[in-house]
Subunit: 210 residues, 2 copies
DNA sequence: TGACAATGAATGAACGTTCATTCATTGTCC
DNA sequence: GGACAATGAATGAACGTTCATTCATTGTCA
């Protein structure tokens, strides 16, 4: 009675997916058992099979969710007032969650899975392409690019570099000790973001201080 | 008589490890069974346990091997005649193998594993730090850095960016379709490497062509 | 009462690991 | 050299366990 679920079915699915990402990040896709997920979600094992055909379908649903989240981040980045702030949103999206490192571990796992499953690879490639197109567009429209301060590199080439750095930092993130808070991770990410940004766009306006 | 194995024991270990990396890259650490590895190596399951205490020890040995390989790559990079060539070696080390993508898939899996196992995380962190120190040193000694063409960034900051891009490109590599050859992967890597290099070091000597 | 949500014990396949056994190679003695 | 003993690398069936999946049963509303 305290909860008034407008879409009970969707709520249950969400509840299970929420538990799944925790278990997947903690143990990995294939070491996380369906019992782990059911325990984390506070439901029975059998119930998971009412909402998902099998374990693979849970992984697939998680990948879809990832797609939606990335598109959401991209939309927020698009609405930022400056290119630097857009990049900051893109680079720190994964470290403002309640559970630090969960997001990073999940994405690294997703890429690991993509290396074996063409289906997952297709999905991740698709997500990546959409996001990169978005950033390419963002760069094209930015004053920095219009002023020609881009070393003769095309927007899509800059975008490729930006995403390489973002992925690389995400990978770096999973090496950080558990004790590190989301705020500390975020600070570290921002440092690198700004360094990259000044390298890509800023040097002609503001020469080195030293 | 045709074969004169100086160290038969080491050969057996190598043979098993060689099979293990193939299986691990193909199925992942935890989906690759000991039976898979024994079949790939052409030996019995039991024999693996003569050379390794358990499956975790096989994974550990693979991680150690990775450490040696990285140090080897770093040594080759150190001996390159220019900084650009050093970077090219670092960025393409993983795509000159017989089996394309095997190396990349393994490393992504290693990071995924590191996100859960503090032991593996320690080892990867250690490897990474050693390699980054090497590149930092390489940059410090390079004429590019001495000429102050580094945007006011410290060598270690440049090194951090370089390794972020390298990891990011490695992650990108596992998304490539199986059909892509090692040579094609290599070409793609080199493209990005040169783009990054010109961004980091070259702009003051050679302005954009356009 | 009927329809559907939810449970969790049961199932069987697959896994890591063990170990009794085999057998080519090596060492030893006459 | 030839007969025999000793070795230990290599085998693979078997064991206990874990896991994804199923389904008979129970709970819950309208």
């Amino acid at each position: 009675m305290s909860q008034i679920p407008s879409e009970p079915v969707l709520d249950r699915r969400m509840q299970i997916l929420e538990a799944a990402i925790v278990c997947f990040a903690k143990h990995g896709f294939h070491q996380a058992s369906m019992h782990d997920i059911s325990a984390e979600a506070g439901v029975s094992v059998g119930l998971i099979y009412r909402y998902f055909a099998n374990k693979e379908a849970v992984i697939g649903a998680m990948a879809d969710r990832h797609k939606v989240e990335i598109q959401d981040v991209l939309e927020r980045a698009r609405q930022a007032p400056s290119l630097l702030e857009s990049l900051e949103i893109l680079f720190t999206a994964h470290c403002c969650e309640k559970a630090p490192k969960v997001q990073s571990a999940f994405v690294v796992d997703l890429y690991a899975e993509a290396s074996r499953s063409p289906q997952i690879a297709d999905l991740v490639r698709d997500v990546l392409q959409t996001a990169m197109d978005g950033v390419t567009d963002l760069i094209s429209r930015s004053p920095e690019a219009k002023n020609g301060a881009t070393h003769g590199l095309e927007p899509h080439e800059l975008s490729e570099l930006i995403f390489a750095v973002a992925r690389g930092m995400l990978m770096r993130d999973v090496l950080q000790p558990q004790e590190m808070t989301a705020a500390e991770r975020r600070a570290r990410q921002l440092e690198v973001t700004r360094r990259l940004w000044s390298l890509l766009f800023k040097h002609e306006y503001e020469p080195a201080l030293a």
